[in-house]
């Protein structure tokens, strides 16, 4: 039995299954799409994707499928080839599982939305773009997927387009991603000019890549994965509906940047500058996001900053030269982050739109399943031993401690680990425990299976995924096995320190009565002042310059200086010079006559 053929066929079948609910209503007039059909299609696609995954795990045969070749110019071909290797094979079931759960949840969350079918088709279009990105074997297809997820992110964040903040957030997401795209296009241009191909096999065969294209790739990843400097769009993307935040901005889209770095990883291996840049950028992002998450009051923003922090951690892993571990973290992170978002969506909807954690409390008794799964998700995020997050996060911290790294990057990452525990515990305690601060009459229930099934399914994933994935993948690099006890337990000790900090701070709030502003609180709650500084200076200067150039300078130069006024100036200059000659004396006129006759005679004799 040709396993490769079976694997490829099932993969293509799965892609067809995903695209069918979107395309079929366009092609046929009788079939109508509905949220349920889309959800069922994604579920079927997930179950189908387990077949190639199993085949891959037992045969470990990577393959590349050529569909068609676009002969661009004479010596530059762009083959449309899909690469089915461990990354794409592992990513498909995870992405489909998470999408299935989110779509089932969205059929409850967006039930009152008049355009719910359009919403589901947008989600499936996004999924298709993401899957193209992950299976792309060349930069061209990857770029198609890259832009596709960017556009769908724009459309989905700005779903409630009557809301100005949503429009601003969607525009922000697109602009920040565009800045990253500059880097990606730079690298693609370098690749095309040096290796004459956009195939990843050709790219990774270059052993000593110059730093510039690698910095371009890092810029692209920084834009898409919200690293420090290009991060503000991710918290603002919470303006979109919660299913969008759960799918795009936690599990799938934001990992596209990290995925790019994982795919092109062999180019980075020998370039220490690029690796150090990744490491430092990731460490700064993770600490900055964790610091901002400490003082947020919106439940979705806390989870968004948590995502940003974990993305920084993934970038740190790339900087440690461990792409497989980064991918493991992507996979485990998808489960518990999507679950956190779905739980928060359930809480928000049940509280009639309340997103402020200061107005929640005591929900443990009212929403038992949701809050238990919220706790499981937070524990997995913190890296509790033997939950999903532990397998990836603990390994990353161990590797970080045992490697030759920048000390400050190490310290920042460790601090961010303890902050993760702090803000997770803060969120949990303010949302679930304590006295309830919600409005008195609120019909809270989780009787709908469309809420509980996705949440429990993802909870199961959060618990089991780490173990399952690590059992079935062979590590490509030897991980450090022997280390001192304090290094081995550093992650858990830091987490416990973070928990103790959170408990201390919450105990302090019972005794202190008047909250005061201080330096650190202002810095943290204003997100490091980055947003006001950049979002006021840059657009103001650019728009002003553009306005002045277009309306004033161009008008001034072309219509005045190049036209009438310019002519006037020249004429005036000439006339002023020549009026000195018009003195009214005969001698001057006789002299000018003689001069002109002399010149004419000279010209004719030559």
């Amino acid at each position: 039995m040709d396993l490769t053929l079976l694997m490829n066929t099932s993969m293509l079948l799965m892609l067809t299954l995903i695209i069918t609910p979107t395309i079929l209503p366009i092609l046929s007039s009788t079939s109508k799409a509905s949220p349920d059909t889309t959800t069922q299609a994604i579920k079927a696609a997930f179950l189908t994707s387990l077949v190639p995954l199993t085949l891959f795990l037992y045969s470990s045969s990577d393959n590349i499928t050529y569909c068609w070749q676009w002969k661009f110019i004479t010596n530059f071909n762009i083959p449309f080839s899909l690469k089915f290797d461990q990354y794409s094979m592992m990513f498909f079931p995870i992405a489909l599982f998470v999408t299935w759960s989110i779509m089932q949840f969205a059929s409850w969350y967006m039930a009152t939305d008049p355009y719910i079918t359009k919403f589901f088709s947008y989600l499936s279009l996004f999924l298709i773009a993401m899957l193209i990105l992950t299976t792309a074997n060349n930069m061209f297809l990857l770029f198609i997927g890259w832009e596709g997820v960017g556009i769908m992110s724009f459309l989905l964040i700005g779903w409630w387009q009557g809301r100005m903040e949503a429009n601003t957030a969607a525009l922000q997401a697109v602009l920040y991603n565009r800045i990253g795209d500059i880097g990606l296009i730079l690298s693609m241009a370098w690749l095309a000019s040096t290796t004459n191909s956009w195939e990843l096999q050709q790219a990774i065969s270059v052993t000593q890549t110059p730093t510039l294209p690698l910095l371009g790739l890092i810029l692209a990843a920084a834009g898409k994965s919200a690293q420090f400097g290009l991060h503000p769009w991710l918290p603002n993307a919470m303006e979109g509906p919660t299913p969008v935040s759960a799918l795009l901005h936690s599990s799938t889209m934001v990992v596209a940047g990290i995925f790019l770095l994982i795919r092109t990883h062999p180019m980075f291996t020998n370039n220490q500058t690029a690796l150090t840049t990744c490491l430092c950028l990731g460490a700064l992002s993770t600490l900055f996001a964790a610091t901002c998450a400490l003082t947020q009051n919106d439940i979705k923003k806390i989870i968004a900053f948590s995502t940003s922090s974990q993305l920084g951690l993934m970038m740190v892993t790339i900087g440690l030269n461990l792409p497989q571990l980064a991918f493991l973290h992507i996979s485990t992170h998808a489960f518990f982050k999507a679950m956190l978002f779905i739980c928060s969506g359930s809480i928000i909807h049940n509280l009639n739109g309340e997103q402020d954690i200061r107005k929640m409390g005591g929900l443990q008794k009212m929403l038992p399943t949701t809050t238990s799964c919220l706790t499981i998700g937070n524990l997995a995020l913190m890296g509790t031993p033997f939950l999903a997050g532990f397998y990836s996060k603990d390994l990353i911290i161990e590797n970080l401690n045992m490697s030759y790294v920048n000390t400050w990057a190490l310290l920042l990452t460790l601090t961010a680990t303890s902050f993760t525990a702090t803000y997770s515990l803060r969120m949990t305690s303010l949302v679930q425990t304590g006295f309830t601060r919600i409005l008195t009459i609120m019909p809270i229930n989780e009787n709908n299976s469309n809420i509980t099934n996705p949440i429990t399914r993802l909870a199961l994933g959060s618990i089991m995924a780490g173990l399952l994935i690590t059992s079935y993948t062979t590590p490509m690099k030897t991980l450090p096995m022997t280390m001192p006890l304090y290094v081995k337990t550093s992650a858990i000790i830091l987490t416990i320190l973070g928990i103790m900090l959170a408990i201390e701070l919450s105990n302090m709030t019972h005794s202190i009565t008047q909250p005061k502003q201080n330096l650190l609180l202002n810095f943290s709650s204003s997100l490091g002042y980055f947003n006001p500084l950049t979002h006021r200076l840059m657009p103001m200067s650019l728009l002003n310059t553009g306005q002045k150039l277009s309306s004033h300078l161009i008008d001034l130069s072309w219509y005045k200086k190049m036209g009438p006024e310019g002519l006037t100036d020249l004429q005036l200059m000439m006339t002023k010079k020549s009026t000195t000659l018009h003195t009214g004396l005969i001698k001057t006129y006789l002299g000018s006559f003689a001069l002109s006759i002399l010149i004419t005679l000279l010209m004719h004799t030559d």
Partner: protein, 157 residues
């Protein structure tokens, strides 16, 4: 069809009567009306409104166009497309501007300097060169058994 000539923007108002006519045209009071300075940039008699974005307008007031926070007939700023609610926000920040700049630059500068320090003094697990016994394996490496092997010390106390 088009606006009549007296309602279109016109040249810079030179006399007080022209100013009053321009203020009436733009639905403003004569005291509030202030044209742009006449320096040849083509503003004409368009009023110079304060540079405040729509973020600063009261969100709870019942505007004629609630999403634009604009009343019918209200003169729009020359750079209105910059001061929309989806663009630049000029509302006063909780923390003064110079404090924000200072704190952010201190944060960024500290991070960059510390990254530089971290590069100079990286962290790594202590390693040492391999040490072999029997005088650095003198005999096994083909040393002369009759000669006195050179003394090799791998440590200093």
């Amino acid at each position: 069809s088009e606006l009549p000539k007296e309602l279109l923007p016109g040249p810079y108002p030179r006399t007080p009567e022209e100013r009053a006519a321009a203020a009436k045209k733009y639905n403003m009071r004569v005291e509030d009306y202030e044209p742009y300075p006449d320096d040849g940039f083509g503003y004409g008699d368009y009023p110079k409104l304060p540079d405040k974005s729509h973020h600063e307008r009261d969100p709870w007031y019942q505007w004629d166009q609630q999403d634009m926070r604009h009343n019918w007939g209200e003169p729009m700023h020359w750079d209105f497309d910059m001061y929309l609610r989806t663009r630049v926000d000029t509302s006063p920040t909780p923390v003064p501007w110079h404090t924000m700049c200072k704190h952010f630059l201190i944060f960024l500068g500290t991070m960059l300097i510390m990254f530089g320090v971290g590069e100079m003094y990286p962290s790594y697990m202590p390693v040492g060169p391999k040490q072999y016994p029997f005088n650095d394996l003198y005999l096994e490496r083909g040393g002369d058994p009759n000669k006195e092997p050179p003394v090799v010390t791998h440590y200093e106390i």
